[in-house]
């Protein structure tokens, strides 16, 4: 079709469409918003306000935020007025409607009014709506307040645990939607708290959402928490997070220190501390920690355990660390076995596994300071298998 004809048809479409669309244009959103706003301002009974508010909410119009906010403030100011039960219920329903619409419109300018409402009412469903709305609006200035609410609920100070559960769930959702790392700590404690599985599972899932990098609160938890298993959970959450290697290593270093810091009172505590140390060492390996500030703690961990598997993992961590300090200790350790071997004290099967791990660690370190002791191994009367193994290790230095 030629351009000329296309243009002609376009014109016809416009003309023919005109009549059909006039009725729509004549009822734009501005008109409706203005009408409902004026009507609400004239309404004086709860029933009238409720009826009009339904239409305001249906508009879903950001232009009505100011009206919703001032109307909600008026409802708060009149909370003390005596009402019968049905009026009070209607008023609560009306306020819920307003809060949920402000939430839907993401009216950040209304966050103060919503938080005032939270503090002013007893209806726990309405309170829960306020908390969720603050999250939906992403009113991050209220992260400390919502965190404090959750902390107090986690202390189980409320007489009514079912109400506390509803509010805790709402506070967790709120902090989830705010996505501010300051909310992490209290959500973490909620995930370990007294709540039902539903609330705890929600808190656990929210931890992954709140922050990609929860290092800061995790360090607070590991440093301040007295329960060793809770420290371990915090470490594992950091390891599963999207935090960078540097931050994951900060947490692992602190966890290792904490695992060495306490003397266990019984076997259960000893096991808990060992698990914490091992998880920390594994994190250091995975994140290739190379600073020598951790070497003395790794050596202390090595010396604190009789478990050969734990020792082998620590030796690997020292190899990955590769610092002069780490290589010196690995060399000394291997040198001692070399001397024993030369003096006729042959290594047993477990010791051979240990020796192979020392050789492997020195190879991984790629630190030339480890080469002399590896050369020594070739002339220390080890089995041909060990000699072959050390030759392969030495090849990595060439």
């Amino acid at each position: 079709m030629s351009n000329e004809r296309t243009g002609r048809v376009s014109k016809i479409i416009i003309i023919s469409s005109l009549l059909m669309i006039i009725s729509v244009i004549s009822l734009s959103a501005s008109d409706k918003s203005e009408v409902w706003k004026r009507m609400y301002n004239r309404a004086f009974t709860i029933d009238q306000q409720f009826a009009i508010m339904q239409n305001i909410v249906a508009m879903d119009d950001p232009a009505l935020i100011e009206l919703l906010d001032s109307a909600l403030a008026e409802q708060i100011n009149s909370l003390e007025i005596q009402m019968d039960r049905s009026e009070r219920e209607k008023k609560d329903q009306l306020m819920r409607m307003m809060v949920n619409e402000l939430s839907s419109l993401k009216a950040e300018e209304s966050s103060g009014t919503i938080f005032t409402l939270y503090n002013a009412v007893d209806n726990h469903i309405l309170k829960a709506d306020c908390l969720v709305a603050l999250g939906q609006i992403r009113a991050v200035e209220f992260v400390p307040q919502v965190s404090t609410i959750l902390r107090n609920l986690s202390f189980n100070a409320s007489d009514d645990s079912s109400v506390a559960e509803i509010l805790a769930y709402a506070a967790i959702v709120s902090l989830e939607r705010m996505r501010d790392v300051r909310g992490f700590e209290q959500v973490f404690y909620a995930s370990q708290g007294w709540y039902s599985r539903r609330v705890k599972d929600k808190a656990t899932s929210v931890l992954k959402v709140i922050s990609d990098d929860p290092t800061e609160p995790i360090l607070e938890i590991i440093g301040g928490e007295s329960d060793y298993d809770v420290k371990l959970i915090a470490l594992n959450i950091e390891n599963d997070s999207n935090a960078g290697r540097e931050n994951k290593n900060k947490v692992a270093v602190l966890s290792l220190k904490e695992g060495l810091r306490y003397s266990p009172n019984d076997k259960m505590e000893a096991d808990q501390l060992a698990r914490l140390r091992l998880a920390a060492v594994n994190a250091l390996i995975l994140n290739e920690y190379k600073n020598d500030d951790v070497v003395s703690d790794l050596i202390s961990s090595h010396n604190a355990t009789n478990d050969i598997n734990e020792k082998i993992i620590i030796i690997q961590a020292l190899g990955v660390n590769g610092s002069d300090k780490a290589v010196l200790w690995l060399s000394d350790e291997l040198g001692e076995y070399n001397s024993r071997q030369l003096s006729g004290l042959s290594a047993n099967r477990t010791e051979l596994i240990y020796i192979k791990q020392l050789i492997s660690a020195l190879s991984i370190s790629a630190n030339v300071n480890g080469k002399p002791v590896l050369l020594e191994v070739q002339y220390s009367d080890y089995t041909p298998a060990i000699v072959r193994f050390v030759k392969e290790a030495l090849a990595t230095f060439e």
Binding site: I13, S17, S26, E34, R38, M39
Partner: protein, 284 residues
């Protein structure tokens, strides 16, 4: 000329898919596809592609996605369902429409993942014209009634009454050259409470100014276009800018993002739009 088609078609879509309660789906575009070559003044059926918003992704100023709105339509482009989801795509609320003979006859709201039913709206028509809307609460008690009167298909009066049918407010509409020029808000006793004046440049609306009963300006909206496509809305409180909404368009003139800017020009939030298209027959 094509830009004018876009504007008019946007309103056409509102009429047939959203009635009067969901204006946000008006960001649409049409491109004509012609069934047969036609000559002027010959009645023909024309098939047009109508673009409808299928998804809005809402982001905060730090670009974190904090919500979605999903729209579902029937094959004729009537809005069947609107769902609001949080940033994790969990359902917050939804609106479900019932459609009969290409007109929405009922809208109902549901809240939360539990799908808790809320209030609903019943719509009645006379031909193509919406003549009555009644909102009901969850216990089926009428809450408010809107009635609409027409003169040659131009809506000239909107009356809002209480659920028991007591008039509460009347809005009169005036037109100039077929375009709405004034909406006047009146009490049931006929006392004027305020009005909106509309200015047009051809078929493009240029401004809406809201005045109080003393003719003092309360607020206004100015609309700016690029080659006939809406690119900016500036909102004033009295004469001071309150905020601005800016639209970024694709090569066809469809809005692909809208940015809500504070008076300072700093970004508050933005919405990214996705579309589907449906084919419509237009008699002419």
């Amino acid at each position: 000329m094509r830009k004018i088609i876009l504007l008019l078609s946007a309103a056409f879509i509102i009429l047939f898919s959203c009635a009067t309660t969901t204006p946000e789906v008006a960001d649409t575009e049409t491109e004509e596809k012609i069934a047969e070559p036609v000559e002027e003044k010959v009645v023909q059926t024309v098939i047009i592609d109508v673009y409808l918003v299928s998804m809005e992704t809402q982001s905060a100023s730090d670009s974190i996605v904090d919500g979605y709105k999903e729209y579902q339509y029937d094959e004729k482009g009537n809005l069947l369902e609107k769902r609001e989801l949080d940033g994790e795509k969990k359902l917050l609320n939804r609106m479900v429409n019932e459609v009969s003979r290409n007109q929405i006859i009922k809208s109902q709201w549901f809240s939360g993942e539990e799908n808790e039913p809320g209030n609903y709206l019943i719509k009645e028509y006379d031909g193509d014209n919406l003549i009555k809307e009644t909102s009901f609460d969850i216990e089926d008690i009428p809450q408010s009634i809107s009635t609409y009167e027409y003169n040659n298909n131009e809506m000239v009066k909107w009356t809002v009454s209480s659920g028991d049918n007591v008039p509460m407010m009347v809005t009169d509409y005036e037109y100039t050259n077929g375009m709405k020029s004034k909406a006047t808000f009146l009490t049931p006793l006929g006392e004027m409470e305020g009005y909106i004046k509309y200015s047009w440049n051809g078929e493009l609306i240029e401004s809406e100014k809201t005045f109080d009963e003393n003719d003092d300006l309360e607020k206004s909206i100015e609309y700016e276009y690029d080659d006939g496509n809406l690119i900016r809305e500036i909102f004033y409180k009295k004469t001071v800018v309150d905020h601005t909404i800016e639209y970024e368009l694709d090569e066809n003139g469809n809005a692909i993002t809208s940015k809500y800017l504070y008076r300072s020009g700093n970004l508050k939030s933005q919405i990214a739009y996705e579309y589907i298209s449906v084919k419509r027959e237009v008699q002419q």
